[in-house]
């Protein structure tokens, strides 16, 4: 009997949780169509000379959080502004779902946008800020105030409704900006470096918040950042851009585990991946890479955590223990950082425990783990290890794995 009741209780709870999630989804996606974003051969040139974006094509999958990542000037903000309609492409087509929006302006595209400096209306209260897009859309006052309060609750600023933006902390301003962007039930939510004005601790907190809000609302979200760590933590998939070209577009883990080219390998991961001219260490790799790689490889890149003591019980690449000279070692709390001279270059290893370290200036034997070692050719493309190409298109939503 009691077991039965417990069972009922449990199933009731499960039902309630599901119902709640369902309601949330209904609530915040009400009237908004969840769409994907397609770029077909889009180019943008200023003054017809400088190509900011050069003939790029991609599809941002619906209902997911996608990061545009790259160094400043790589074209990521430009891409975002092209999606929003604040900029028009000089060539190519843009689709939201099946709809060609290339010629439509920002308003007609129904996108919500959060700017780096939040762009809250300074003379309006928090509630008025959130309700402004609905006021513009001529939503009835009672309805918009009700929805404004719901959105404020979603982003946890319900206690600040009558304050002016200047009275809020950076994180709260950010939340209000997100609520305002969601107020018009956007088909796509765009965030332009939204965390860069926040301090480090708040940044981590807000990135989890943005992820939570995105999952609760299910709105297709595009997030621009130059911070690879931020991108890896928040995104379902990441598009790495450089010099107006897509370098790689895939899930964060694939980006880290299988960089298509040297730029991506160097851009993703901290500390920055070690690179050594392949010619200096070619003999060491004879037993592990095919002859074509031996002849074509120009650079070998090794992640710091893939350099481990030769005595480490993990699997190693089938090569003789390598020998380097220990230059310096440091311990920072639970991390150690070891500088080794190998192949004429100083490389950083952080896979060593304190007891495995040698003495500075003395030689030290080490091994490489199979993951995190890549060989690139002259043009910077990865030629080893070979894997199924991932740069063609992003993964289907069902394949996406998030850490």
């Amino acid at each position: 009997m009691s077991k039965r009741r417990q069972y009922n209780n449990l199933s009731a709870q499960i039902f309630l949780v599901h119902a709640f999630q369902y309601l949330l989804t209904i609530q915040f996606t009400k009237g908004c169509l969840i769409v994907d974003v397609k770029f077909q051969n889009v180019s943008l040139a200023y003054d017809n000379v400088n190509n900011i974006l050069n003939n790029i094509s991609f599809t941002i999958p619906e209902g997911q959080l996608t990061c545009l990542l790259g160094p400043s000037g790589c074209g990521k903000s430009t891409t975002l502004n092209l999606i929003s309609g604040l900029l028009s492409p000089t060539g190519g087509q843009i689709f939201f779902g099946d709809q060609n929006v290339t010629k439509k302006d920002a308003l007609a595209r129904k996108v919500g946008m959060v700017f780096q400096n939040y762009a809250l209306y300074p003379h309006m209260s928090v509630l008025d800020n959130i309700c402004f897009p609905m006021k513009m859309a001529k939503v009835k006052k009672a309805d918009r105030l009700k929805r404004g309060r719901e959105l404020a609750a979603l982003v946890h600023v319900e206690t600040e409704l009558s304050k002016k933006p200047s009275e809020l902390s950076g994180g709260q301003q950010q939340r209000v900006a997100i609520a305002r962007a969601l107020a018009k039930s956007p088909s796509i939510l765009l965030l332009d470096e939204p965390l860069s004005n926040l301090d480090a601790r708040l940044r981590v907190e807000m990135r989890e918040e943005i992820r939570r809000i995105q999952k609760e609302t299910g709105v297709t979200t595009v997030f621009v950042t130059h911070d690879q760590e931020e991108a890896i933590h928040i995104a379902d998939q990441i598009m790495v851009l450089n010099e107006g070209k897509i370098q790689q577009f895939t899930t964060p883990n694939r980006l880290y585990d299988q960089p298509d080219n040297l730029f991506v390998a160097k851009f993703i991961g901290s500390p920055i991946i070690n690179t050594i001219p392949f010619a200096n260490v070619r003999d060491d790799f004879k037993t592990v890479v095919p002859t074509s790689v031996l002849s074509d490889g120009t650079t070998v890149a090794i992640r710091a955590e893939s350099i481990v003591p030769a005595t480490d019980p993990h699997d190693h690449l089938t090569m003789l223990p390598l020998t380097g000279t220990q230059v310096q070692s440091n311990r920072f709390g639970r991390e150690t950082s070891l500088s080794l001279n190998y192949g004429g270059h100083t490389i950083i290893a952080d896979g060593f425990r304190e007891q495995d370290l040698g003495r500075n200036g003395k030689s030290l034997q080490f091994a490489l783990r199979p993951q995190g070692v890549f060989v690139f050719n002259q043009s910077g493309n990865r030629i080893w290890p070979e894997t199924v190409a991932t740069n063609v298109s992003p993964l289907k939503p069902t394949e996406v794995i998030h850490a």
Binding site: S84, L86, A106, L107, V111, G112, M113, F115, Q116, N117, A119, Y121, P122, H123, F132, P133, M136, A137, R180, K184
Partner: protein
């Protein structure tokens, strides 16, 4: 420490001298307004009159139709100020946010008009207005002052300081340029707009030369022109002129004292003096 004190003292002395220089004319005006006619020209001059002649104010008020002048001044000042603010806000928005053909050229052209001395405009403006048969009407007093490039320039600087993101955000939220201007730009530039307004109120209220030239009957004359009543071929009745001056400038002093923080904010923001 002492060095700081010396420079502090110097600063106070200089500021005091400046303040005295500014105040003396006002004090002289008040003191003269309370003198008898012979006392106004006595050498050496007296600062405090022996017997205060309060009836000077009553005599002066009745010497000319000052009530009509007062109402006229009020009408002209109100209409020019509101009109000028309206054109200024629209022009400043265009120069600050809109992109149109010849924008920079037009701006440079307008800027160059600030180098033309006001006196040079009197004759062309007079000729134009007389062709439209507007001489001796309120039109002549109001129309030439409905636009001021100084005001446009000042407000454009303020508008430029408003971040572009705000404009984009409002556009994405469905706000038109017109709506953005009146619900965002104008409320956010309140202090600059108030400063421009006050400067125009003071300028319009005190304007003497132009109303004197384009009006010739009491029906449309304004207060400063009315002060002319005390000057004739036989000389000037200084005590009455000063008494009348006192009540003519009194409204402006009140306006200034109430709103001075806006004037100073507006001037220091634009980096220009009025």
């Amino acid at each position: 420490m002492t060095k700081k004190r010396i420079s502090q003292a110097l600063l106070i002395i200089i500021l005091t001298l400046g303040a005295i220089t500014m105040l003396v004319p006002f004090i002289w005006m008040l003191s003269t307004a309370l003198k008898t006619a012979p006392e106004t020209v006595r050498v050496p001059p007296t600062w405090i009159p022996k017997h205060l002649q309060w009836q000077n104010f009553v005599t002066a008020w009745h010497a000319a139709p000052f009530l009509t002048y007062f109402i006229n001044s009020l009408i002209v000042t109100t209409v020019t100020t509101i009109g000028q603010l309206f054109t200024t806000i629209l022009a400043a928005f265009a120069f600050s946010r809109l992109n149109f053909y010849g924008k920079n050229f037009l701006f440079a052209l307008f800027l160059s008009t600030m180098m033309v001395p006001g006196e040079m405009l009197i004759i062309p403006n007079f000729v134009t207005l007389s062709k439209f048969s507007l001489i001796n009407t309120f039109g002549a007093l109001i129309i030439p002052w409905l636009a001021s490039f100084f005001a446009v320039f000042t407000l454009r600087q303020t508008f430029n300081a408003i971040p572009n993101e705000l404009y984009y955000a409002a556009k994405l939220d469905g706000s038109s340029d017109w709506h953005f201007l009146w619900t965002m730009m104008v409320p956010l530039s309140k202090s600059a707009i108030t400063a421009i307004g006050i400067l125009e109120v003071i300028g319009s209220w005190n304007s003497f030369m132009w109303p004197l030239i384009v009006t010739n009957t009491a029906k449309v004359r304004t207060l400063p022109v009315g002060l002319n009543a005390f000057t004739s071929d036989a000389g000037t009745q200084f005590q009455l002129l000063m008494a009348a001056s006192t009540f003519v400038i009194l409204p402006m002093i009140i306006v200034y004292l109430c709103l001075q923080k806006y004037i100073i904010a507006g001037i220091s923001k634009s980096g220009l003096k009025g």
